[in-house]
């Protein structure tokens, strides 16, 4: 019994850590650079599908199935999602800040459509199964299998965390924050905001793609339903709760929000009669939506906040355009 709980705990943590990877990707886009991405689900989906197509064994009714090693799949996923992010960014980053939000929303809708409709490539509504799982040979023993996967995912998160911390402290990261805080000043110092923003957006997109691949391989099966707008929303809630701008906050937020989500979902399925479960889970989403608004209103910095590297006044009026709107 206790072994079961341990195995479940490992499973839960591994899932939470895959969300943490998405959160880290979002943190570099939003937390460090202030780019609003409403299409997280799209980039995650691109990563998951590219990796699945690269690594699954050959199947007669579907294109792909190259049977490549998992690492190649992960790499391909990051490159494909990064490329998609670069395209979207190149199109919109030079325009108004919320055009990027609208465009990424459009990407999410379109990717969802592609995944559903290009059946020869993605398996349509049925998704892709038989995705090779890391340590698949250990699957006979659930505990070692879960622990091995947990260790692997934790290593990915740790590696990304260290790399991103390094990047944040590097001159490149300082330029990003400078642009976020005061674009004109950064420009006056000879930095080109558009280029830096585009780089940050691309890196963030690539990390989200990697997250999709890691998650897809861990579960072993992907379907369009995994990449609905609610995923985007969960990741946002995680980052905002944990504290945007802070990589540790991103990881903490992912574990907390995913825990809360899994716990309430378990409570719903345990205590609510089956015919009312759909309603109860919609109430769960209401709670997340209201929660996000409340955090924006009451504690915009999240649990951990940005920490010492922050330049004060993130949420205070910055430009004249906003100041004049203060009634």
């Amino acid at each position: 019994m206790s072994l079961d709980i341990l195995a479940y705990g490992a499973f839960f943590l591994t899932m939470a850590l895959t969300y943490a990877i998405m959160c880290l990707g979002l943190n570099i886009q939003w937390g460090q650079t202030g780019l609003f991405n409403v299409g997280i689900a799209a980039f995650v989906a691109i990563g998951a599908y590219v990796s699945a197509i690269l690594t699954t064994p050959e199947t007669p009714d579907r294109f792909g199935g190259f049977d490549l090693p998992i690492v190649v799949g992960w790499l391909g996923a990051s490159i494909a999602a990064g490329l998609a992010a670069w395209l979207v960014g190149a199109l919109t980053i030079r325009l108004r800040s919320d055009y990027l939000a609208i465009a990424t929303f459009g990407v999410a809708v379109s990717v969802q459509l592609c995944v559903l409709n290009i059946q020869p490539l993605t398996g349509g509504a049925f998704g892709v199964g038989f995705i090779p799982r890391p340590f698949g040979s250990l699957a006979g023993n659930p505990l070692t299998f879960s622990l091995a996967n947990l260790a692997l995912t934790a290593c990915v998160v740790l590696g990304l965390y260290l790399a991103l911390e390094h990047l944040t402290k590097s001159p490149w990261g300082r330029v990003l924050r400078a642009i976020r805080e005061d674009e004109v000043a950064a420009q006056a110092l000879g930095k080109r905001p558009i280029r830096f923003r585009l780089q940050a957006f691309t890196i963030g997109g690539a990390i989200m793609g990697l997250a999709g691949a890691v998650q897809g391989h861990f579960i072993g099966f992907i379907a369009p339903d995994n990449y609905l707008p609610i995923l985007t929303f969960q990741v946002w809630a995680m980052l905002i709760v944990g504290g945007s701008g802070n990589n540790r906050g991103a990881i903490l937020g992912a574990v907390l929000v995913w825990g809360l989500w899994a716990l309430t979902a378990a409570a719903v399925s345990a205590f609510v009669p089956p015919e009312q479960q759909a309603r109860a889970s919609s109430l769960q989403i209401v709670a997340i939506g209201v929660g996000l608004c409340l955090i924006l209103l009451l504690r915009p910095r999240g649990i951990l906040g940005e920490g010492r590297s922050s330049i004060a006044g993130r949420f205070k009026p910055k430009s004249k355009a906003q100041q004049k709107f203060k009634e």
Partner: protein
């Protein structure tokens, strides 16, 4: 190609156009892309259904269909009440959420994010109250009448087109001929200067929310009447609304309407040429083309 797609596109475009006018007004005057606007359409549709159902219970004569249309007097009466209620809903959301953020001087993108949160909460609340099962205002069937040129339309569809035309003309006159319209244009031009010149900026903001919500409610009721009522009704229209608002040029009412028709017609043409499953991608393609070729839209001014 069957010319009927023109009729379908025109009707879809009219609903998109009405919604897009609301998006473009809030965008130009409140200065942020409101992701919760689609939810105002859904709430309008459901509120009208709830009121119309309640009226039907009071008196059965109200439910009896009026001559050529499929609905009884309960729906038009409910529509008026629903318009007021949707307007109040928008004002309440503004007072609770956006107004507070605005007063704090939050960045535009925080407002966008808050609207994103509000949209999810509002939509799921509808799903909680009315469940996700599709609903209808009436079960009556309608025969389409021939209009010549191979076009057919049901009386409901023709009525919707007529009402859209009236609504658009009314909004256009309001914006160009009345003093509140002038104040709105002044605030969209420069809020600080408008405030100094004696324009009541808060009142303008309230009027904008109410107008946008009222139009959204009308568009939602039409969609509900001509298609069906679902909690995702507005969410699925959000991308077409944004595409139309940007194509028309942010702030331009005639632009939004015209662009709405373009989006609707392109969607209908795509259904004929490519297949119905790709319909939702049309708005994205239009959006990308506009952002590439002319980011300010048809009638917008350069930023």
């Amino acid at each position: 190609m069957n010319p009927q797609f023109l009729m379908d596109g025109l009707i879809a475009g009219a609903m998109i156009g009405l919604g897009a006018i609301g998006v473009t007004l809030t965008y130009s005057i409140l200065r942020f892309a409101n992701f919760a606007h689609g939810e105002l359409l859904s709430w309008g549709a459901y509120l009208a259904m709830a009121v119309s159902g309640a009226l039907g219970m009071l008196s059965t004569t109200l439910v009896k269909p009026i001559a050529p249309f499929s609905f009884g007097w309960s729906l038009p009466i409910a529509a008026v009440i629903a318009i007021l209620l949707t307007g109040l809903l928008a004002l309440a959301v503004d007072a609770l959420l956006f107004g507070r953020l605005r007063r704090r001087g939050s960045a535009v993108i925080i407002l966008v994010m808050a609207s994103f949160g509000a949209s999810l909460a509002l939509r799921s609340l509808l799903e909680f109250i009315f469940t996700s099962k599709p609903a209808y205002y009436t079960k009556a069937l309608q025969i389409a009448v021939k209009l010549g040129g191979g076009l057919r339309a049901t009386p409901d569809q023709l009525l919707s087109l007529g009402l859209t035309l009236v609504a658009v003309i009314a909004i256009h006159l309001l914006m160009t001929r009345t003093s509140i319209g002038r104040s709105m244009r002044a605030v969209s031009e420069n809020p600080a200067l408008a405030g100094i010149a004696g324009v009541d900026v808060r009142k303008v903001i309230r009027v904008v929310w109410f107008l946008g919500a009222a139009l959204a409610c009308i568009a939602g009721i039409m969609t509900g009447l001509l298609v069906q009522i679902r909690p995702y009704l507005g969410h699925d229209l959000l991308l077409p609304l944004f595409a139309a608002a940007i194509l028309g040029g942010i702030g331009s009412v005639p632009g939004a309407m015209l662009a709405g028709l373009i989006v609707g017609l392109s969607e209908a043409a795509a259904v004929q040429l490519v297949g119905a499953e790709w319909r939702a991608a049309v708005s994205f393609v239009i959006l990308v083309i506009v952002l590439l070729v002319r980011p300010r839209g048809l009638f917008g001014r350069a930023a």
